[in-house]
Symmetry: C2
Subunit: 247 residues, 2 copies
């Protein structure tokens, strides 16, 4: 392994035509499944999308972002208490996983698995990118992939051989994110100081200009993730949570 892998890694949004072999994909998934899991229950499922037609339909639900349309493989990683609950019922148990606590356990399991897949795939020379859009269209994605009750698609990853290096992105300083012993009272000045690194990052400055906003914070809150988007999507998500029996 390259010792610098973790500190230099980048997400990849453009892929070459080269196919990912089934053997490689399976070995990545098999190794990733050794990641920690709550009570060793493995509260997750992975749907592999490779069929071209299905990929088009799924990519559309990810707003046809290039990272979705151009990838050889799309993985949808689901928090899954369906399979486990069925197993308990078949065996005469009284499973009680139709609740929010269980949702948090399954979501944690699924995201741990997702990140392990990303790390292993990248270490093997593949490029990956999370599609954060998965939660925006969770109900429709679930319909397309036939996800049953007590599942929730919490992470989506595109995988392929990289056709680009991946964009450099800035990160906050450790002191802005890691707190000793307790969460500090953050003054306005401290917060300004924490985010300065983002505000001064050249691509972000360009981003502010292009969006005609006063500053980067406004681009995030008023354009990229505004109330007009978050609130209707949340309404759908809460309905979906009830349908899936997690609320």
């Amino acid at each position: 392994m390259d010792d610098k892998y973790f500190i230099t890694r980048r997400s990849v949004r453009r892929y070459s035509d080269k196919k990912v072999s089934r053997e490689l994909l399976d070995s990545i998934l098999r190794e990733a499944m050794k990641a920690p899991t709550c009570g060793n229950m493995q509260l997750y499922s992975v749907i592999v999308t490779r069929d071209e037609e299905k990929k088009k339909e799924l990519a559309a639900l990810h707003f046809n972002q290039p990272a979705a349309t151009g990838a050889d493989v799309l993985l949808t990683i689901c928090a899954d208490y369906h399979r486990f609950t069925r197993w308990c019922e078949i065996n005469g148990g009284y499973p009680a996983y139709d609740n929010f606590l269980s949702f948090t356990s399954a979501v944690t399991d699924a995201v741990i698995l997702a990140q392990q897949i990303v790390t292993i795939a990248e270490m093997r020379g593949l490029g990956t990118c999370y599609l954060g859009t998965v939660t925006y269209n969770a109900p429709k994605i679930s319909e397309l992939l036939h996800l049953p009750e007590m599942t929730f698609p919490i992470a989506a990853i595109s995988i392929g051989y990289p056709a680009e290096e991946g964009e450099e992105t800035e990160r906050l300083d450790l002191s802005g994110v890691v707190y000793d012993e307790e969460y500090p009272e953050l003054s306005d000045d401290m917060i300004r100081n924490i985010y300065k690194v983002k505000e001064e990052f050249a691509p972000n400055k360009k981003f502010v200009e292009e969006n005609g906003k006063e500053n980067l914070a406004q681009v995030f809150s008023d354009i990229r993730y505004p109330r007009s988007l978050n609130e209707p999507v949340t309404a759908d998500l809460l309905e979906f949570m009830k349908k899936q029996r997690f609320l």
Copy 2:
């Protein structure tokens, strides 16, 4: 790196007295922060607990499990929209992250970070263990660590130099968890077959016997994670979600 790391890794629940240096801990955290994050917003915080008194109090909220009481470092990884929201407000934006969609984004960010910390720490020779108890006592842990509104402690990790190899654990076969193109209709027989590997794993057989149950599924559903535990904890969690403004 050991090529076999991912497939052979185990969680460690007993630690030696050797201290983890601040330098090592910081370098692990700094590298982990290069993991993917939603819109590069870094919707997480890490509370580092090393003070002996605080560690005792925190370990008690993890039911004093040995993995918590004996570790040099406890990390509480929080989904965090507090800091980001404050930054937007200070800059004249109109942040709208007090909703469930934003909760899922921040939780995903936090768990990705947690798993990256685990992988890097283990690759450096440290032992780690997730404390799934974090969500059971999320309200009390938040009080102890002074977590503000719009944060949620979603993952806790103990870290130290290992005093044991870690227990071997079994995993389901890939075919039981990874599905091509869509979620299959799982017949009872298919489910029995998927979980056979767990039922036949020797330590699990002993576990069933010790608990006086008919089978492993019943141990999970009726003893380890029963309704009498999940439902009251969920009631507290939902209250807490409202207090934190995510519901």
